[in-house]
Amino acid sequence: MKSYWWKILGLLLLLYSIIMGLLGPVPALPIVHETIRNVYFHVPMWFTMFTLYVISVVCSVKYLSSGNPKDDIIAVESVNVGIIFCAFGLISGMLWANFTWGDPWPNDPQLNGSAIATLMYLAYLVLRNALEEEQKRARISAIYNIFAFPIMIVLMYILPKTTDSLHPGAGGNSGFGEFDLDGMMKVVLYPASLGWILVGIWIMTLRFRIRKLEYQNDTAAS
């Protein structure tokens, strides 16, 4: 029970976000109308992806100093689950954009940046599969991961903010906080983000534990 509390907390936060996200009050805005509620589900995907990538890069750094294969497994499984959340974010964003911006993929810098960042992380997984020797694979992919992480931040969070983007908070657009004056959306968005982050980490630990079992079985067999 002791180790389960944060999993239950994550699920309860998500349950709250589903109920309050659909029934709670939202600002009435032109064009987006009720789809403003997508903020509660689309944005946490990216927060979760970002958290998982942070865990991954921290574990990659740890691996380079410790050489412990456990750190390497956490790094790769974080990227695996992070890419899933990135795909969810892209798909939900494309659906939303189709009905509010009129195009699933308007050449928005934020969209293109996140697409390139996704390809970079897919390349990380391909790189891992291309190398056979275990220690070499772990070390080279850890270094690649450490380089990919700052580029991902620049592509997704810095460059889009400096140019004109359809996303809030970029170019001449108002940021999220400007139309959410009384904070009625924050009370759902922040718990929803925390809930998704906790559940994302949970899924990552599940994959990590399976991978560890496989690793133990492999080393025991050989």
Binding site: K7, L11, L14, L15, I18, I19, L22, L23, V199, W202, I203, L206, R209, I210, L213, Q216, N217
Partner: protein, 72 residues
Amino acid sequence: MKKAILSLLLVISGLMCSFAQSNNGVEMATGLRSSGKIYVVVLVLVVLFLGLAIYLFTIDSKIKRLENQNKK
């Protein structure tokens, strides 16, 4: 077998028709039917989500069992 399935389908469609007729023109004021029936969507999402949550927990316990087996 075929006959049984066919008769079952007939019974189901008959039941659905009778329900549809009895509902005609009757506005129920229960909570689940108010406000554009959005509560039904909320309910469906909550049920789906709870199912997924329980599924995650069963996977978690299954891995735990494997880990305990491996330790021995």
